[in-house]
Amino acid sequence: MKSNRLAGGLIAAAALVAGTAITACGSSATATGAASPGPVSTAVTSSPVTLTLATEDLSGLTQSLVKGFEKLHPNVKINIETSAYTAYTANINLRLASSTPPDLSEAVVLNSSVQHHLLLNLDKYASLYHWTSAISPYALNEYRMGPTLKGGSGPLWAVSAGFDLTGLYYNKTLAARLGIQNPPTTLDEFNADLRKAKAAHITGLEVAANDGHAAFLIQQVADDYEPPTPVNNWIFGKSGATFDLPGVTKGATALAGWAKSGYINASANATTLTQAVAAFTTNKALFLNDGNWDAAAIQKGLGAHVGFAAFPAATAGGRVNSMVGGTAGYEISAKTKNPNVAAAFLNYSVSPQAAASVFASGNLPSSAGSLTPAPGTILADTLTAWQKVQQSKGLYGYYAGAYEAANTDFIRTTEELMGQSLTVPSFISQVQSGWAQAHTS
């Protein structure tokens, strides 16, 4: 508050208007709130309640979860406020720190929200609802964070309805034209398929480098060679972790090589994910390395002419890997007046009742249950890929989650890598220095 007085003095000249502007800003500067809920209960009140939910989820999953929950509790109304990803990440903590925070919000900048005590500690609800036994630890651990603000362990701050999987979408029409029978299972087969596509003047790989997805390719190749521990340590910001791993060199070298060989769409550096999905669904490329959040759109665009497979392993029988993260993960505001209702919504989102709508949206539900996808669909392929990944214990976080500016840094450096204006060692050292700066300041 001292700083506010100083500001007031500074702008005394514009006295009338000064008060409002600085106070508006100052109110967000204090962020204290009970980080632990009061008496917790699974009971949902029967009197009318309205909750606000802030999200950047455009897939329709959140909408269907809300609809399902409202049907179960007709006295509860949840108002959804949707904004675009960049606007959401820039504003969500300000919203949470304001006097009227959303009761539920999508967990995308967890560490700063936890740091400023803006969220409710969900540990008591986790034991009340038995989340730890019902939900896959892959879906849960992402939302654990201790006082050092390193993820992966500590109190639980959010719960996600499902979790996503990354792999390779392939266009069956183009594959048939090139004489490719099955999706590649090794990097050698993958390279051979890309060569065939190039020879037939077909784009092998559609890459959305402008959204940071070139880093997906680097990571999927790198994770073929690197076991999860050192990679996840780096992603969770553990001290002593490094990006300078032999696998990363292999991944970055592969990406630069594919770009140089003309296997990647020439417009990759100006292509966003939405544009890449649009290009892939209009038969412009053989492969798209993406997550299952786009499954519904891709299935709709290509119908029966598309398949999904786990990313190829280094060699036959090698580790099959995927990046895994929560989808529609929601946190509860520390200031909510209805923590029990909000927690009941989280519990509904991971319940077997909600699992069907989660799976229908292309995501794997967090709670175990019997899933019966129609054969020949992306959903069926997703389930097969998931089983392979799980069997080979090839689960990794996302590089982009390693620090706040990670995605910005990856967009710039991978573009330069593909443009052959950055060497692989410089790429690694630039990313590592960004990481070191973020984790020491």
Binding site: S3, L6, A7, L10, I11, A14, L16, V17, A18, A21, I22, C25, S28, A29, T30, A31, T86, T89, A90, N93, L94, A97, S112, Q115, H116, L118, A209, N210, N265, A266, S267, A268, N269, A270, T271, E404, A405, T408, I411, R412, T413, E415, E416, G419, S421, L422, A438
Partner: protein, 323 residues
């Protein structure tokens, strides 16, 4: 309240049209001249109050607040801690800063030099003794100036796309070898973004120049014609010297646009590929809203403002009329 009462009283008297009351006002004018002047200046201030309030709230205050925040470490939420001059020292350690500032100056060619030259050429064609009425053309050229920059960015992103309008035209005229995804190209992205800037600011420059040229008395052109001077002579000897003031204003406004460029570039390329189109405005945004280093972002913004002021001052010194 007082000003409101004043405002109500004055038009009532003026609009009454009563010769008696007008005469009375006139007879009192001499004795109460100073008071009337005072009153009218008060009215003037009253009229200025509203725009000033808007200017204060939306321009001056955020600017002062930016300066203030630049001396703190702050992530936008928690407590601010005093940083002294540390953020200013760190500004010069931002790795992409040098190339971003260099790009700002290069953008002046596209936002400033090209539009002024093109607008002068168009002015020469549109004005002069015959002054053809090209209102529609002028309106078309001015339209980009009134479009929201985000819409301009999105539109040109499509046009520059792999199968966008520009590549389609190139392929249609048999230049498929030249066609490329312009915004993905390290060599062309900057030029492509710059040309959009030129497209936007040319209309503004033209509006300034045409307005300026219309003030030139036609007799001057006729005099040159009598002396046997052609259109080129008329432009150099009459139009151009008369437009000196307008050129200085156009250069100032467009230079500010170039140095502060953000929206069009952020929408079209977010500064990429790599750092091919990075500008300080994008860096400020990334520091403030991606890494939440609000103090650091503010310091860079203040440095950028200082740079703009410096460039504008230099421009004005050069533009000063020499005896």
């Amino acid at each position: 309240m007082k000003t409101e009462a004043l405002r109500r009283r004055r038009p009532a008297g003026a609009a009454s049209g009563d010769p008696a009351s007008q005469g009375k006002t006139a007879s009192r004018a001499g004795s109460t001249g100073t008071a009337a002047r005072k009153r009218s200046s008060r009215v003037a201030y009253a009229y200025l109050a509203l725009p000033f309030a808007f200017y204060a709230v939306f321009m001056i205050l955020p600017w002062l607040q930016t300066i203030y925040l630049s001396f703190f470490n702050w992530d936008g939420i928690g407590a601010r801690t005093w940083a002294g001059l540390a953020n200013y020292l760190n500004v010069f350690r931002i790795p992409q800063l040098r190339v971003a500032i260099l790009h700002s100056f290069e953008l002046m060619i596209f936002f400033c030099v090209i539009p002024i030259l093109v607008a002068l050429l168009l002015t020469a064609l549109m004005t002069g003794p015959r002054r053809p009425r090209l209102g529609v053309l002028r309106a078309i050229i001015f339209v980009p100036q009134v479009l929201p920059p985000v819409a301009v960015g999105v539109m040109w992103q499509w046009m520059y796309g792999d199968s966008g309008f520009i590549n389609q035209v190139l392929k249609w005229v048999g230049l498929s070898g030249v066609a490329r995804p312009w915004l993905a190209s390290f060599s062309w992205a900057f030029v492509a973004v710059g040309l959009v800037g030129a497209w936007v600011t040319t209309g503004l420059c033209l509006a300034f120049f045409v307005a300026g040229a219309q003030k030139v008395p036609t007799e001057l052109y006729e005099a040159v014609q009598t002396d046997g001077g052609g259109l080129v002579r008329q432009f150099w000897s009459i139009t151009l010297p008369h437009l000196r003031g307008e050129i200085v204003i156009a250069a100032t406004v467009t230079a500010i646009t170039a140095l502060g460029a953000f929206d069009i570039i952020y929408v079209m390329t977010t500064g990429g590929p790599g750092t091919a189109t990075i500008v300080p405005g994008v860096l400020v945004y990334q520091l403030g809203f991606t890494t939440f280093q609000v103090g650091q972002a503010s310091a860079l913004a203040v440095v950028l403002s200082a740079l703009v002021l410096l460039v504008i001052s230099v421009l004005r010194i050069f533009a000063r009329e020499r005896p």
